[in-house]
Structure formats: structure tokens, C-alpha cells
Point group: C2
Amino acid sequence: MSDGATGLIETEAGAGPRHGERRRGIDRVIVLLEALLRHRAPMRVGDIARMIGAPRSTTYEIVNSLLEAEMLENVGTEGYVYFGRAMHLFGWAYSHHNAHYRRIIETLDRMAAETGETVQLCGLRGNKYIVLDCRDSSGPFRISSDVGVEVPIPWTASGRLLLAHMSEEEVKDFIPPGDYKLPDGRVIAPAEFFSDVALARQQGFSETAALADRFTWCMAAPIRDGHGAINKTLCFVLPVDTPEARRSELLALLCERARALSLAGS
Amino acid sequence: MSDGATGLIETEAGAGPRHGERRRGIDRVIVLLEALLRHRAPMRVGDIARMIGAPRSTTYEIVNSLLEAEMLENVGTEGYVYFGRAMHLFGWAYSHHNAHYRRIIETLDRMAAETGETVQLCGLRGNKYIVLDCRDSSGPFRISSDVGVEVPIPWTASGRLLLAHMSEEEVKDFIPPGDYKLPDGRVIAPAEFFSDVALARQQGFSETAALADRFTWCMAAPIRDGHGAINKTLCFVLPVDTPEARRSELLALLCERARALSLAGS
DNA sequence: ACACATTGTCTGAAATATCAGACAATAACG
DNA sequence: CGTTATTGTCTGATATTTCAGACAATGTGT
């Protein structure tokens, strides 16, 4: 896919393709890791340098440091690098540091085992939707999606729930205009999206059929934090042709489990 | 490898804590993350600074950068930080980037589901043993251990397998002398350990009873890479009083699954 | 109330990490 | 076989980042 390798990943305004931009090593590391995450495949040092807009010599220096720390590792025979073991360990520590997240993961496991369907834990990252964790369907035709990849919020059922605390005006300011355009070219009318959000807030769950792609039915239920806000959602990704009876059964299960995971003060 | 870069810096005659050691931001980051992993709990910035031997001002600078990148995140009300969401995403990417690791994880899941016992994936990190991933027993008395924590190799069943490619001489050089001492004070005779390693190599599995602690029976089987070398092991952690019949059944399962995961070129 | 420890934020100054560019050694391509 | 694009490693110079220390604002204990 044309990943639009603009070369410059500028979080801040200004700063065009200035030649003499000297940057801090730490920032290079951060940008590098995020670029690698987006790319989702091992890369060569030269490509990394181009992608993050850093000089080759610097990139080699940094990559070697990270390799030594096992935050990156060599993969394949020729110069490719990707995330290393240390990242796995750090990530594991993150997922298990608090009891709540552990409970969520156990629920994810149990639901996947019980239903055999694809289950996901979703949340926001900035103004995008991401899958935080998932258990893929065990069936022969598995619908899977990558953890950590940023997706426009309007494409997803979870997204509608995750915006439930916002007013229509806030939502309008929050979603980049281009994000209403679906991958197949259709465009969601913002007004329709706002009412979807309102509906999701009211019913306490959200469903989408064949939205971001032709073959999936998604259903999401909110996991609320201590203040009742929705930080994360639990969701099923089903084949669109799943019978209605089965769907409503799964929806009930989803809502029940999500509620059980919510911390809402009694 | 052991370039003596980190850890205790006493290269010169100067005994005191060298005051003017200026270090690179990247290296600070690496040391910081590793310290956090070892500590296994959120820390305050001041404590981090002390633990990694960095000035407070520098530590604040670095921590803030990492917070912004979500590699760390604030936890609790007052100044505690721990690993952040981005780490989870990077780690997930690591675990899923290659088909082999994915298969291993699926096996882990399946074995845990089938047996209800604690299953672990283990490996080496430097000259220590670590748990790379695990599925905890679902029973009321779960025996669990933390992923990523370094443990002396002689304490473990897996460790005996993971050294199988070494000669006795190499093993002797590899294991730090203090690592033969068990947590309860007993000391494993090196000669005994060497013969354990040889036995493990010969039978293709390894077992320990009440070694690192009084109440566990561990059994490990090797996962071999394309060259037949043992990089990782699969293992069960059982209560010591597990009946012999059950144990041998589980051992058979363990060996079978580990063999299925091995890449040994036919 | 006091003394004492800690946090988070700022400074200026000095040590150095980042950078551009050159280099040989392969690889890719027509 | 030349031509062109890579890769990985070095170098010296300077723009930057790390660092020590000071600061006010909170805690903590007696």
C-alpha cells in the first residue's frame, strides 16, 4: 500500500524539509519505533533512515544501540531489523501491571475460547481508533486485524462508543474531515455519524455491518472506567452473514462481559 | 557483548561515584526501561533517577519525552510512571511478526486450555534464564512467575536444556559462580549440574522437583531452531504433589508439542 | 511549630552526540 | 562489462543536550 512515505513525520507545525535539522537521539528513537510499528514488517536501515528523515550515519548509530539492548533485532540474513525481545518483555509488563487490564485479558481469552469468534479490545490513540489486543477466530476463515494500526474512528463500531462523552460540536472538531471517507470510496455523512454516536450512547452498544469492509459485522460494548467514562471497548468481529439469532446471543454476551469489566462505582 | 558499559562502573582507581559521567540520552532510556522491568512496579521519577544513576533534571527530561510518546504512562495519582501503551503495541508486533512465534503462542494457549496447568515459554537472556511468555494455571492455587525476570540458570529445568549445546567447560565459564546457590541457601554442586545438563541433552527433556522453591515440579522440552539448536523451551510448572500418572501424561504432551514446534530441517 | 526530604521546573555552561560527507565493498541492472 | 544504487564504517566540526545546582512548593515526621 502506498504508505505515503513523506519522509517527514512532523508532529509540530512548521519545519519544512529543512536540511540542517539536528534532532535528539531520544526523539529519533521514538519516531523510529513508531515508523516500524506502522510499517509492520522488518526494514533495512537505509529505508528506516529515509522513512524517519534521519541521516544514515545517525540511523546506524541508533539502530545499533537498540540492537544491543534487544529492543530491536536482526531478522533474516540481510540487514533487516524489527522489534526485539525486550519490547515483548516491556509490553508484557505493561499488560500485567494492573489487575484491571489482567482481568480484561482473561475475559478476552475466555470469550474467544467460548465462542470461537474474533474478539478485540479497542481504544483510541489520539484521534484514531486502534485495536489494543485481540484473539483471532479459530475458524478456517479468520478475520483478523493488526493490533496498534491506526484506523479512522468513523470506520468502526467501537469508535462510536468511544466518542460517547463528546458533544456533537466536539466530535466535529475531533475527527479529521478525511476520516469520513471509507476505504471503498463511500463517504459517511457527518450528521449520520453524529446520530450513530448518540444512538450508541443511548443503547450502550454499537453495531456496524459491512462498513469498513464488505464482509464483517462488528459489535462493540463499552468498558467504563471509575468515572463512568468509556476508555476501551470489547468487540466481536463476525462474518456479515452470521444469523440474527447467533448475533443477538453474542451481543448479549458481549454487553454482559463488558459491564462486568467496568469499574463504574456501583 | 559484556563491554562493561552499564552496571557498576569501577574501571578506574577512583573509588567514589564518578561525578562527571555524561551519558547519551538513548543509553539512559535503555537503562531506564530495563530498570523499570526489573523493578516490576511503577516508580517515581526521583527513584528512577537514583536507580539508574542519572541526574534528576535529566531523568525528568527523558521521562517526559517517553510519556509523550506513550512509552511510559502515569499511573496512580502522584508521580508514578510505568510502561505505557506504546510498549504493548511494540511488544505485540514483535510477538506476531513471524509465523513461528505465532505458532508457539497458539500452542501455549491450546495447552493451557487443554490441561489447565501453568505453561511457560522460556529462553536465555545473556547468562540468565527468563520466562518469555506464559499462561497461568486456571486453578484456585495458581503458580505464576513473571515474564522477563532474570533467574539463575541452574535453578530451572529449562536452563539445563538451554545449555545442551555447550561443553562442560563452556558451561563452567558461562554460569556465574554465585548462580549455583539456591534461594533457600542450598548449593548445587557444579559437577551435579553438568551431569544434569548431559542427561537433559540425552533424554530430550528435563525435570526438576522442588528446586527453586518447595512446591513446584517443573518439566521442560526443547524447541529447536532450523539448525537443531535449542533457543527456547516449553515447560509445565506443576504442584510437586501432582501424581506420577498425570505427570507422565503431561510430559508426553509437552514433548510432543515442543517437537511439533521445532523447525529441525527433517 | 520546626527541621528535613522530596518534587517539579529553570538556568547557563561545557562536553559531546549528531550530522554531512567521504570511503570501499557489494549488489542490481541493462 | 560498465553504470548506478546500495550498505556499512569512519572522520572531524559544531549545534545541542546533558548536567549541576538553585529554586519554590509540597509533604513528613517529631
